[in-house]
Symmetry: C2
Subunit: 245 residues, 2 copies
DNA sequence: CGCTGCGTTGAAATTGCTCAATTCAAGTGG
DNA sequence: CCACTTGAATTGAGCAATTTCAACGCAGCG
């Protein structure tokens, strides 16, 4: 099933018409990307919203001194750049971490969707706000936590987000990125991330190989990370609107 | 003049009716706060949007180990928590840094405003998106820059944001916070912030006393900070919508 | 006068970084 | 099947940035 629909339905009920519209949007214009390609570069003027159907994408900024900061990981079902309506130029880039399949949703189609049903509008707003909440938590993570906590925290986040869309089985989920990319996301050096991962590994808290992450005891890892999933707003919060719609 | 109107007009034209509505919202229900009070605490269920009319506010999370991370500084004209419609519980707190005057805008009134004119809706969206852009830049700042760059960068940001709303005169603007608060925003220790400020001071790049920041040569400081104001989206980007509205 | 909050400084400890090799796994072409 | 290449993970050693701890100064204020 369309992973976007699945995600939005955690938040609100969608009518059949909504779903048809979303399904149409998700199949209208499909584009494939290789690993390590830019979907949009910094400074570009975007014309479409990108809906990720398969693969992992990251939002990042490249610095002059060669470093880079990854600001989000985007998974199937995630939408990028709902901002195209309002902010003219991209102040960051979107790049692939794996081969990726994207549905391009044009400005007009998006507008049509927003006009069609306020529930859909609300659901897309929710998407934007949750993304912002994740950014805030990353700020805490990078600003105030030790390397060990930081790594553990991000692994917990990735795990919980995938769990929410049914992509965890047997305590295992996908994690198809490199240690360098993890370091770029955490504001750490790749070397130190490596050592930190070893520490988590020898403690038996994680087992990460073949692009797959296993967390035998999520509670334990969450404790190390001081992880509290509230900020992901994963609990179903939509009932309150059913009456109104 | 209402600082929110001033800010939104950087982005879009507002009709007289819009302005009346905004003016009404900004005067309906005024609340005063002392320094170091919470406007909303983490975990609370907010019912109003807060429009800051005077004073400085910060968005922060308190950690179990006593540390805290400040995630935004909010200045007069800034709106907090446009998210009340969608996210039930606050995943962070809003606290005052100075005495503060706030206009409380109820959910209903906000809804009325959004219904009244799509331009206003768009303008408020823009506010949300720019806030997100600032969060992203903070991530880069904390994740990848040295202490010197970090401090300089934040000072530049504060300066530019105030300049955009006419609050810079003679290369001086307000900065009514403590070094500890600056440290909490930057993910540094207060001691190190102190030393870093000294470094900037002896280089003649800044002069900060009596809650006032002077930057004699903004270019020079921006260079030290590797500061590029693009992410603030301060340039007038609204013309493109005039036709449509 | 004696708090109290804030800024300042020194010295030692720690964390995480850089540099430089080395290993390992998975292709790829001959 | 083997030599070669490549990208990623791993490790050690020395170093640099930042934190922590502990004092001290200073101004405002009851």
């Amino acid at each position: 099933m369309n992973p976007l629909i699945r995600k939005l339905e955690r938040f609100t009920r969608l009518s059949d018409a909504d779903k048809r519209l979303l399904q149409h949007a998700a199949t209208a214009r499909i584009v494939n990307y290789d690993t390590h390609q830019d979907i949009i570069a910094e400074g570009e003027e975007p014309t479409d919203v990108n809906l990720i159907l398969a693969g992992w994408v990251c939002r990042y900024k490249q610095l002059a001194d060669g470093g880079r900061q990854i600001m989000s990981f985007l998974l199937p079902g995630d939408l990028c750049d709902l901002n195209i309506f309002l902010l003219r130029r991209m102040d960051h880039a979107l790049g692939t971490l794996t081969p990726v399949v994207v549905a391009k949703i044009s400005r007009d189609l998006l507008q049509e969707m927003l006009n069609a049903d306020p529930r859909l509008t609300r659901a897309l707003w929710w998407e934007v706000l949750v993304t912002a909440a994740i950014h805030r938590e990353w700020l805490v993570n990078i600003g105030r936590r030790t390397a060990l906590e930081r790594v553990a925290h991000l692994l917990c986040e990735v795990y919980f987000r995938q769990q929410a869309v049914g992509r965890v089985k047997d305590n295992r989920c996908e994690l198809p990125i490199t240690q360098v990319e993890l370091a770029d996301a955490l504001g750490l050096s790749a070397v130190h991330v490596n050592r930190t991962l070893r520490e988590l590994r020898v403690s038996g808290l994680i087992d990460w190989r073949d692009k797959t992450l296993a967390i035998p005891d999520v509670e334990a890892l969450a404790q190390v990370a001081r992880f509290d999933p509230d900020y992901l707003h994963l609990d179903f919060e939509g009932e309150q609107f059913d009456a109104a719609c």
